[in-house]
């Protein structure tokens, strides 16, 4: 036995076994090449309800820099409902600091903000720039339903949460989904979806109106001065949008930028993810783009973000799952139940909306709007 152990054959066999095991591990790692299987737990970080009682957290964005009231790494969250839970009347952006674990109110706007048709109801469109400027979309209502909704606007806030300017025109009608952002410091490109063009009342069986757009907004941000919009271009249109008694609107909600200026859009009503090519530079609409993936684990896809591997993470509106997609392969890789609240059917139905990657890319923040909390999946 001892003699056999000393032979070169033993070492060769051991080396071969290690190589096989390593290959196996490599295969296993590759087969699990995604973020969702690596997540260990979901930790509730804070209630998202500010002092004025606003409810229904939607947008989740991580501050990229320390400016004014913002600290790099802070998580900013919009509230869509007021204290009586009327949709389209929430006026606050709250700020959760992961270091101090404290929640503060970053901005509290007036519902009757001048220049914003229909007033203020803060939805999922939120961008925080390195310069400290914050751009947030309003999808307002006067009574919690689309019957009294306005076209809303884009609101530019300074780093202390004060309104600097209000932007409203015929290209903006209920900025609804999360923004995709390219931030170069002195310039920035924002993409936002508009889901309010002509949707009308939510009574009865509201029709699907194929008028939703994705708008590219170019900003110039001179040093020490307020950002100026230099151009607006509709890069996609014709998406379905629909008034809804329970969730106000259903329409394209998730926007995420990929390699080569590809813009991925979650088309909620068609239950699919589409791609708009050359979204950073195109001068005309790409329509509803081309389909990346549809159906499968998607169930009314909403807000979307990108993982360090270039995968898309998208929350589902009709269950408590987040879905990971390889957009290049057009393949749905994994889904993970991040809200399995059995009070709804299916579990977590209607609970999820916004999400954002953590700065280290190892996890993501998301909101549970049924219980008004911010959760970390990591």
């Amino acid at each position: 036995m001892a003699q056999w152990l000393n032979t070169g054959r033993f070492y060769r066999m051991t080396a071969a076994l290690i190589a096989v095991a390593a290959c196996g591990m490599g295969y296993a790692e590759e087969s699990a090449a995604g973020l969702l299987p690596m997540i260990k737990k979901h930790t509730t970080l804070t209630s998202t309800i500010p002092d004025n009682g606003d409810l229904n957290p939607y947008a989740v964005v991580v501050a990229p820099a320390t400016v004014g009231k913002l600290t790099q790494g802070d998580v900013l969250i919009t509230n869509f409902n007021n204290t009586t839970n009327l949709q389209g009347t929430g006026t606050t952006i709250v700020d959760y600091n992961p270091s101090t674990k404290r929640l503060t109110t970053f901005a509290q706007l007036s519902h009757e903000l001048p220049g914003c048709p229909g007033g203020v109801g803060l939805g999922t469109a939120l961008a925080v720039l390195k310069s400290g400027w914050v751009v947030v979309g309003s999808t307002p209502s006067n009574d919690g339903l689309t019957d009294s909704k306005g076209a809303g606007c884009l609101i530019v806030l300074d780093a202390n949460g004060k309104v600097n300017q209000v932007v409203a025109d015929e290209l903006i009608n209920d900025p609804w989904g999360n923004m995709a952002v390219v931030d170069n410091g002195t310039t920035a490109t924002l993409f936002l979806s508009n889901a309010g063009f002509g949707v009308g009342s939510a009574n009865g069986k509201p029709p699907v109106v194929n008028k939703a757009t994705v708008l590219r907004v170019e900003l110039s941000i001179p040093e020490g001065k307020a950002p100026q919009i230099t151009s607006k271009t509709v890069v996609a249109d014709g998406f379905g949008e629909q008034a809804d008694k329970s969730v106000f609107l259903v329409g394209p909600t998730g926007l995420a930028l990929g390699e080569g200026g590809k813009l991925y859009v979650s088309d909620a009503l068609a239950n699919r993810i589409v791609v708009i090519d050359d979204a950073l530079h195109r001068t005309s609409s790409g329509g509803t783009g081309s389909v990346v993936t549809e159906g499968g684990m998607l169930s009314r896809p909403l807000a979307m973000t990108t993982t360090p591997l270039g995968h898309l993470l998208v929350t589902n509106g009709l269950n408590g799952k987040v879905v990971e997609i390889d957009p290049v392969a057009g393949k749905q890789l994994y889904s993970r139940w991040i809200d399995a609240n059995k009070a709804q059917t299916p579990p977590g139905n209607g609970d999820l909306f916004g999400l954002a990657m953590t700065p280290d890319g190892r996890g993501f923040y998301y909101v549970e709007d049924d219980v008004n909390t911010l959760v970390l999946a990591q």
Binding site: P37, I39, K41, H42, T43, S47, D51, G53, N82, T83, T84, N85, L86, T89, H111, E112, L113, C116, P117, G118, G119, V120, N142, D143, G144, L145, S148, K149, G150, A151, E170, F197, G198, V199, G200, G204, K205, P207, V209, K211, K245, G296, M297, S299, G317, L318, N319, L333, Y334, S335, R336, W337, I338, D339, A340, K342, T345, P346, P347, N349
Partner: protein, 473 residues
């Protein structure tokens, strides 16, 4: 002919499209011209969850300290148009006030919550006045007056995989609960017949509650274990505990344990493309309770004679302890499409207890509930249910003994059955109106009609009609 008939749908489709386009264009125009209205106390009052909204700022002010205030009123007008001991309709109602405190916000204690609630029961009790049923017509019928209901603190541990609740609790809020049967008006669709008649004072369930401790463990996402120990008789102190403030520690102890299984995915479950779970949601529960007090035999006296025997001393034989096993199933069997409101659920709940020491030895509730029965009525529900309660073997034998000893052919109790059909209409998020029909066969399981002089006639089968409304303030 073909051309003519072919054109009609095309023109109608074109007109429909034009109408839609013009409506859509008009809506866009309105979107741009609408002014923001000030948000006040009555803004959007039809669309919000509570009639009184923010109560002039009170709810927001309480919310800053983690306090939530709930006020609900259930009112109903129920009556029997046939059968029973007399005919007629009565009003009854229930006001519930609940104060919840999120300990994290109030005291910085994560995963803790405090709850206190009070009840005010008003109106008349149809079942007691007209029906004399075992399975009483309405779950809110109770003795009139105001009372403290629950008063407890709950603390979660291990990321809420374990939680402990201490204080005065009404166990019908957690044990033996059927998700779908809660739609119905009949009492036994809520807290079932066996514990209502076999536990002292009907058990610590609405409108009663008892001091106790309850542990909940969620070892996996699919399994939940509930176990609790409570004072065995909430009426054993303070002159019957009429106001819920006696905090009785007398009358023995009640242990309840329930294992729950859900076929739905658990938090953190990961699926890949070929492993997607798609089963319709179902919950299954298996439970057991034990009470350590003494329970009187339903037939035999301590002297070995039937209690119906004129020679009996009248003192019942005593049994040490009492117990029951039960099972509850709730299963969605059809849904229009995943995530839609429209779906058909079925439920069944059965339980048994020993027949020698209990008035009832068996009860069952079962039925169907269809959510969104009509398109656009997302939050309406229609239900058809059935309940049955069986009198225990000892009590039935006692009735037979009575016939034998008296020579009078008085009825022998057996079982009571009711069928209930109901439609709950959601007027708006804070207001429901519910129409209800119940038909009871063999009321009281066949007891003598007190209006019958001969003492041999049963109460006639009853048709109960009514309307209930629930308002959240």
């Amino acid at each position: 002919m073909h051309r003519t008939t072919g054109r009609k749908p095309r023109w109608s489709a074109i007109w429909a499209c034009l109408a839609l386009l013009s409506a859509s264009a008009l809506a866009e125009e309105l979107d741009r011209s609408i002014q923001a209205a000030p948000i006040g106390q009555w803004t959007g009052w039809r669309n919000r969850g509570n009639l009184l909204g923010d109560m002039g700022g009170l709810r927001t002010a309480l919310g800053r300290d983690g306090i939530t205030l709930g006020i609900t009123e259930t009112s109903e007008y129920l009556g029997n148009v046939s059968g029973g001991v007399q005919h007629g309709f009565y009003y009854d109602g229930l006001t519930t006030v609940t104060l919840g405190v999120d300990a994290a916000r109030a005291f910085g204690i994560a995963d803790g919550s405090f709850n206190i609630s009070a009840l005010h029961v008003h109106g008349s009790n149809l079942s007691a006045l007209n029906l004399n049923t075992l399975q009483t017509a309405s779950g809110i019928e109770a003795d009139r007056g105001a009372r403290l209901w629950e008063l407890w603190y709950q603390q979660g541990f291990l990321n809420n995989h374990v939680d402990l609740k201490l204080g005065q609790q009404s166990i019908d809020q957690e044990f033996m609960v059927s998700q779908y049967s809660g739609l119905f008006v009949n009492t036994m669709m809520g807290w079932p017949a066996v514990p209502s008649y076999d536990m002292p004072a009907g058990g610590p369930a609405y409108p009663m509650s008892a001091v106790g401790a309850r542990l909940r463990v969620r070892p996996t996402g699919a399994l939940t274990l509930l176990t609790g120990v409570y004072d065995g008789d909430p009426t054993a102190a303070g002159d019957g505990n009429k106001h819920g403030t006696a905090f009785s520690l007398h009358g023995g102890a009640l242990w309840v344990t329930e294992l729950q299984y859900s076929n739905q995915p658990s938090d953190g479950a990961v699926e890949s493309g070929d492993q997607v779970s798609s089963s319709l949601p179902g919950t299954y529960k298996l439970g057991f309770w034990y009470h350590n007090a003494s329970f009187a035999d339903q037939r035999w006296g301590v002297d070995g004679r039937s209690l119906a025997d004129p020679a009996s001393q009248g003192a019942a034989e005593q049994h040490r302890g009492n117990y029951s096993v039960y099972a509850v199933a709730d299963q969605l069997v059809w849904e229009d499409k995943p995530g839609s409101q429209q779906g058909l659920g079925v439920f069944a709940r059965a339980m048994a207890a020993p027949g020698d020491r209990n008035q009832l030895s068996f009860s069952i509730n079962t039925g169907l509930v269809l959510k969104e029965p009509f398109q656009g009525r997302d939050n309406d529900s229609v239900g058809l249910g059935l309940g049955y309660a069986r009198v225990g073997s000892g009590a039935r034998a006692l009735d037979r003994d009575a016939v034998q000893f008296s020579g009078v052919n008085t009825p022998v109790r057996s079982g009571e059955t009711f069928v209930e059909a109901t439609y709950q209409y959601q007027v708006n998020p804070w207001w429901q109106v519910q129409g209800d029909v119940q038909y009871v066969v063999n009321p009281g399981a066949g007891i003598v009609n007190p209006n019958n002089a001969s003492g041999t006639q049963k109460i006639g089968n009853e048709l109960v009609l009514g309307v209930r409304t629930n308002i959240s303030f």
